[in-house]
């Protein structure tokens, strides 16, 4: 089962986890990405491509379900302006066996970094700039072949 949400509202982990655990699968692996404030960032704004984003994330979930014996794959992504500590993305994979859940969770977040149309703009005080793509993200996604 696939759940993909792109939203401007904050991500409520209690709600997302409850939805994920409702599946009758013993292994629940999650990844949550938070806005980091340790390098002076005061605001992170995320732009996306409505429609194409949801398609890309659903395609990622389908790939995960085809590759591992999962009960459920979930991606919840926030867009718009955020501040340090806010949750940007929540990914979850549930399965009967922990290896499938853990691997699928890592796959989803690695692929999401390079395969979905999101763009980050960081603000430090009055200075705002678009984040450059990182080669390390391409490498992490490539490892899944």
């Amino acid at each position: 089962m696939i759940r993909v949400v792109v939203q401007e509202a904050p991500i409520d982990l209690a709600v997302e986890l409850a939805a994920v655990e409702a599946a009758d699968a013993g292994a629940v692996a999650t990844f949550t990405g938070l806005v980091r404030g340790d390098d002076g960032v005061t605001e992170l704004a995320l732009e996306h491509y409505p429609g194409a984003t949801e398609r890309a994330l659903e395609a990622l979930c389908e790939q995960a379900l085809a590759r591992w014996a999962l009960a459920r794959a979930t991606i919840v992504h926030r867009v718009g302006p955020m501040v340090p500590g806010d949750r940007v993305v929540f990914v979850a994979a549930t399965a009967r066996h922990r290896a499938a859940a853990l691997e699928a969770c890592a796959f989803l977040i690695d692929r999401l970094k390079t395969g979905a149309p999101f763009w980050k703009r960081e603000r430090r005080g009055s200075d705002a700039r678009w984040v450059e793509a990182r080669e390390s993200d391409d490498l992490a996604a490539a490892r899944w072949g």
Binding site: G33, E47, Y49, K113, P117, W119, E132, A133
Partner: protein, 85 residues
């Protein structure tokens, strides 16, 4: 051929709009041709489309390489490499 263009991130900012409807000439066959043609459409466009290495594209919401033909496309999006997640 009339096609709907969408711009994101700094492409949008440099062009100065989120999208536009264009009718490129017949010699515009691929996305790369479209980028070259757009670069001649004004100062903002010139800045946005100067460096192809930093541009990515989607045709009808599917990510494609820049050498992809655009015949029959309804919606073409042009944007920088994604930095999501």
């Amino acid at each position: 051929m009339t096609v709907e263009l969408l711009y994101f991130a700094w492409v949008r900012e440099r062009v100065g709009m989120a999208g536009e409807r264009v009718d490129p000439p017949a010699e515009v066959v691929t996305v790369a041709d479209l980028v070259d043609w757009l670069a001649g459409q004004g100062d903002g466009h010139a800045t946005a489309f100067a460096d192809r290495q930093r541009l990515r594209a989607a045709v009808d919401q599917a990510f494609v390489p820049l050498n992809t033909p655009i015949a029959g496309a309804r919606e073409i999006a042009l944007f920088p490499p994604v930095t999501g997640g």
